[in-house]
């Protein structure tokens, strides 16, 4: 059998898609998470429901949405509601299974910084800020992060808690009273990190051809590796076909 080639974006999209379950209600942004959801819908999760923080439920986009409020998300959706209602009736009420998160920094316990590098009052780099992330990280049943695996993106501690993972680990998250289970996986171009019992993000799967050494070198804390740490299955021809030909034929995100 011929080797199938794929790029790091495709690898991350495919692995993120596989984490989604049929009937999941997913709070989804644009770009890579949107592609992952659409791929899941067209493979193993036909009943996945996508909702957007702009207040769109059950979108049927006719084209690849270019922003979280793209009009193609609205035409043909099953419902649209106000911003207050999406955060209360849907997210906070517990109707959201999965949230996707991202940020400039993700730390050892899955905490995310999307706000600032340096001091908050005198920022070295000012980032966009929370948007919906603070609440999604707290209240979605489970969260996933998709990000390139680079040491500067994976510090031991983030400069600022825009949204929390497991804080300092142990029962720190539970003590805050948030309802969601926190980050369940970080999908990178090297593998998949998952929280251990203490909430520390450890290497739980590795992509074909990647070494443990590469993963360790690109992580800002002493990266633990699970006992089994299986190799992920490479993207299938079918997955790549859907992704390349159906979902992002102009290769905007992949």
């Amino acid at each position: 059998m011929d080797e199938i080639s794929y790029n790091p974006q495709e690898l991350m999209v495919v692995n993120a898609a596989r984490l989604l379950k049929d009937h999941d209600v997913v709070f989804v942004g644009v770009g890579i998470p949107n592609l992952a959801c659409n791929l899941a819908m067209r493979t193993h999760a036909p009943n996945l429901q996508m909702i957007y923080e702009a207040g769109v439920i059950g979108a049927h986009p006719a084209r690849l949405p270019l922003s979280i409020g793209d009009p193609t998300l609205v035409s043909g959706a099953t419902a649209v509601c106000s911003m207050y209602d999406i955060f209360t009736l849907y997210l906070q009420r517990g109707n959201v299974d999965v949230g996707f998160l991202g940020g400039a920094q993700i730390d050892q316990f899955g905490n995310i910084n999307a706000t600032v590098i340096g001091d908050y009052q005198h920022p070295k780099v000012r980032l966009p800020g929370s948007g919906g992330a603070m609440e999604i990280a707290a209240w979605a049943n489970r969260c996933y992060i998709i990000t390139p695996h680079q040491k500067r993106r994976f510090p031991a501690r983030v400069d600022f808690h825009t949204s929390i993972g497991f804080l300092s680990g142990g029962d720190a998250r539970a003590k805050t009273g948030v309802r969601g289970g926190g980050p369940q996986a970080v999908v990178t171009n090297l593998g998949i990190l998952k929280p251990d019992e203490q909430g520390e993000m450890v290497l739980a799967a590795i992509h074909p051809g990647v070494t443990y050494e590469q993963a360790r070198e690109n992580t800002g804390w002493p990266l633990k590796i699970t006992e089994d740490c299986p190799e992920t299955l490479p993207p299938t021809a079918d997955e790549l076909y859907i992704l390349r030909e159906k979902l992002d034929p102009q290769r905007i995100y992949i």
Binding site: I57, T72, T78, R93, W139
Partner: protein
């Protein structure tokens, strides 16, 4: 995945002895057919919550379904008193818990939103709060003043009549919205009774009209004229004659029982009930046509 089922099956599956039930609808869309089916199935010890109990709860209490009422205005709208409820409360046979409309709807707003309470501005009227410990106060951290709050209401099951929905339960409502949406999101289970089951393409042609998404709906029941003697905007009028008649019927236990025997126990379902009302009533209650002007969502 279809959630279509009969009303009888939906009630049997989702409404249990002792449940807190919210059959919603402010004057409009009151799910009488579902109340009647609960009576027929002999479900007991319910806590019945509604801002406006209306005839439906008068009838359910008369039939012995309830142990407690949660409400904010106990009247026969436009007519007068709800005699069955009033007498059950006056005689001490029915427990109750009472709010103003805003207190009641704030409880639903908190329940639907997953919030620990909702704040309300002061009204100066403290007698009700003195009898209902759910009214509490917190200190406004910005002004130091006292703020009245109510806790979430999260019914076991909501029963909600809507004009149209698809088989997954994506539901569209127009006319008076009352507490339809909040009751659905606040409740653990939702039984939708639907005037028209429509293709999902109809729903998707106007997503802003959808106030309840299928994801919170447990069962979809196709029950035309479910709301009679209340009304369904655009489908049939309110049967004001029956509201007036109930004021007489409810004067004695015998006449109430005779009404239940004939119109609830005596009919197997809403279809038979509606046919039994006869063509003159159907004509009298017909809605006529006044269509909304369409909007363009654009073909993006």
């Amino acid at each position: 995945m279809t959630k279509l089922t009969t009303l009888s099956d939906a009630i049997r599956t989702h409404v249990h002895h002792g449940d807190l039930v919210y059959a919603s609808g402010f004057t409009h869309l009151i799910p009488f057919a579902a109340g009647h089916e609960i009576i027929r199935q002999g479900i007991k010890e319910l806590t019945l919550a509604r801002a406006t109990p209306d005839l439906i709860y008068d009838q359910m209490v008369a039939a012995g379904c309830a142990r407690k009422l949660i409400f904010s205005y106990m009247g026969n709208p436009g007519v007068g008193s709800l005699r069955v409820l009033r007498s059950a409360i006056e005689s001490g046979q029915l427990d109750w818990e009472e709010y103003s409309h805003f207190g009641m709807i704030s409880r639903l707003r908190a329940g639907a939103s997953g919030l620990p309470f909702m704040p309300m501005n002061p009204t100066g009227a403290e007698d009700l709060a003195a009898h209902n410990p759910n009214y509490q106060q917190v200190k406004d951290p910005y002004t130091g003043k006292s703020v009245v709050v109510v806790p979430p209401l999260t019914p076991d099951v909501a029963i909600i009549h809507v004009q149209r929905a698809d088989i997954q339960g994506n539901a569209q409502v127009w006319g008076i919205l009352g507490e339809q949406q909040l009751a659905a999101f606040a409740s653990q289970r939702v039984i939708l009774t639907v005037e028209e089951v429509v293709d999902q393409a109809v729903i998707r042609s106007d997503p802003n009209r959808t106030i309840i998404p299928g994801m919170v709906v447990s069962a979809v029941c196709h029950v035309p004229f479910c709301a009679h003697p209340s009304y369904t905007q655009g489908y049939h009028d309110r049967d004001n004659e029956l509201y007036l008649a109930w004021d007489e019927i409810s004067k004695t236990g015998e006449s109430v029982q005779a009404y239940l025997d004939e119109w609830v126990y005596g009919v197997p379902d809403r279809k038979t009930y509606w046919e039994k009302l006869g063509p003159d009533v159907h004509r009298r209650l017909s809605a006529g046509e006044r269509l909304s002007q369409p909007v363009n969502y654009g073909d993006y």
